[in-house]
């Protein structure tokens, strides 16, 4: 039972990350592989504020989101000139820069040793320390993120994003400052990812830089590509499949190390197979 809660919580967290990435990759056509850095910033900020300063989890989460939003603003401005493959390369670069900061800024992040002992959320005397209550909390957050994403993509703003994805120059001459649109969605996406990151930190009660590297970014990208770019159900379905699949592997009897590598192998294979045979993913609206 505990195990099922655990899976459900992981699924919720990755659903949040995937929806956040889809806003940028699927709806706006900006393939970013730096989202792991955003949940890293969210995770570290929340974790440190709660654990060292004793700030309430929900406030810490909010501050984590704001901080990530600011980083995304700066990053978005820098990346706004990059097109296509160069954009991917730029975000790849940032992932490594963020990772380097996590691992080397030892005075703040404690470097490779990570941040242990992160407490579970608490509010008004309610503590979310057991799996059941944490699951409820994450479910609520998934609902919030999903609703927010739905609001954004069904609005006229969302329509402009899709037009930007299809042909940025063409929509620009109709009077739309495309760089501003791209920047805003990038910030919204980053802040959502940070939300997930804070939750993740609190759930695992321990984080280290390894959790937020390029592999994680690619994992979330695989989820979105499998589930389907440009739809909201796609990331959710993708998260479901890709969280459950590795667990199925455990039962096949691989050793933990090998299982971990098999998990990575599957993501990579999925990316190749999807690109080759079904670029729009299972439920997607956008064919790369």
């Amino acid at each position: 039972m505990e195990y099922i809660f655990h899976l459900a919580i992981l699924f919720s967290l990755f659903a949040i990350f995937a929806i956040a990435l889809d806003l940028v990759a699927g709806y706006t056509g900006l393939i970013s592989v730096c989202h792991a850095a955003f949940y890293g910033i969210g995770a570290y900020t929340t974790a440190l504020l709660v654990q060292s300063v004793g700030l309430n989890f929900f406030f810490a989460l909010l501050i984590g989101m704001l901080l990530t939003g600011i980083v995304a603003l700066i990053l978005g401005l820098v990346f706004s000139k990059f097109k296509g493959d160069y954009y991917v390369l730029g975000t790849l670069g940032f992932t490594y820069i963020a990772y380097t900061v996590f691992i080397n800024w030892q005075s703040v992040t404690n470097g490779p040793l990570g941040v242990p002992g992160i407490p579970r959320p608490e509010i008004f005397g309610l503590s979310f320390s057991n799996s059941w209550s944490f699951l409820i909390l994450s479910a609520i957050f998934v609902g919030v993120v999903y609703a927010l994403a739905r609001f954004v993509v069904s609005s006229s703003f969302g329509r402009v994003l899709r037009a930007i994805r299809e042909d940025e120059e063409a929509i620009a001459i109709f009077g739309y400052r495309t760089s501003a649109f791209k920047l805003l969605i990038f910030i919204i996406s980053a802040m959502s990812a940070a939300l997930g990151g804070g939750l993740l930190a609190s759930y695992l009660t321990y984080i280290d830089p390894g959790t937020f590297g390029i592999t994680e970014s690619i994992f979330v990208l695989s989820i979105v590509i499998l589930g389907g770019l440009g739809s909201l159900r796609g990331p959710v379905v993708g998260a479901l499949i890709l969280v459950l699949l590795p667990e199925a592997l455990r039962f096949v009897g691989f050793s933990p190390d090998i299982a971990a590598q098999m998990r990575v192998l599957i993501y990579g294979l999925l990316l190749v197979i999807m690109m080759r045979y079904r670029p729009q993913g299972l439920l997607g609206e956008y064919k790369l």
Binding site: S156, R165, A170, A172, I173
Partner: protein, 245 residues
């Protein structure tokens, strides 16, 4: 005669070659002006410069006889009262026909668009322009599923939707069936009747003769001739430019 647009000594250089060479032309308001010239004469480059796709290297654009602009960003184009269609059709492929129109009717501010609930006005405008080009029944189809001709019509509907004062049609007739040709010509004439300015870039001389009030001929980025269609098309310089090209 008032001019909707004028260029003053406009130049655009690519790799040392003047695609547009110190060009000064005037587009009369409320008329259909054709821009013709052999391949490479600068017609599409000119259009691209005037609609913000390439930067102006020197010279300026004058809008409405008043304001001069030495720099035009893509997003300024609509504010300057211009819109256009593209020679290589650029519709929003993986969006529905209806969305292709609604998207250009959206509020242009970031936050305004977030809270913009497409009002009846927008929906009516979309229905109007789509019906005009005969695509209303296909409004929920993704643009990628339309035929080539239908996509061209969609682009035209999109341009009509923004109700711009000056509409550039860049080779709108290529690949269209005869009924569609008539439809497009009809649209241009209607625009003229409502006081809009039409700029038509075309190769088909019969259509130029039929539709245009005024014709401008470019060659190698420079003005070669201009005037009424019959005059220009009989001009020996023009004939030579086309034959020699």
């Amino acid at each position: 005669m008032t001019y909707a647009l004028q260029t003053k000594n406009l130049s655009k250089v690519f790799g040392g070659v003047h695609a547009v060479d110190h060009l000064s032309i005037s587009i009369p308001k409320g008329k259909i002006t054709g821009i013709i010239g052999p391949n490479g004469s600068g017609k599409t480059t000119l259009t691209n410069v005037l609609t913000g796709f390439h930067s102006i290297d020197s010279g300026a654009l004058v809008v409405g006889g008043e304001k001069e602009y030495e720099r035009i960003h893509s997003y300024d184009v609509r504010n300057l009262g211009m819109t256009r269609t593209f020679q290589n059709v650029r519709v929003f492929e993986q969006m529905s026909v209806l969305d292709n129109i609604l998207v250009v009717l959206t509020e242009r501010g970031l936050f305004a668009s977030l809270f913009d609930s497409h009002t009846t006005f927008h929906k009516n405008t979309a229905q109007e322009v789509l019906t005009r080009v005969g695509l209303w029944e296909k409004r929920n189809e993704n643009a990628v599923n339309l035929s080539y001709g239908q996509r061209k019509l969609l682009e035209i509907a999109r341009a009509l939707a923004v109700n711009a004062d000056v509409v550039f049609f860049d080779e709108p007739y290529a690949g269209l069936f005869p009924e569609m040709v008539k439809l497009v010509s009809g649209i241009m004439q209607e625009l003229r009747e409502t006081g809009k300015t039409v700029v038509l870039i075309e190769h088909d001389m019969a259509l130029i003769r039929e539709l245009c009030d005024h014709v401008i001929v470019l060659e190698a980025g420079k003005l070669l001739a201009e005037g009424k269609p019959e005059e220009v098309l009989a001009d020996s310089k023009v004939i030579e430019a086309y034959l020699g090209a």
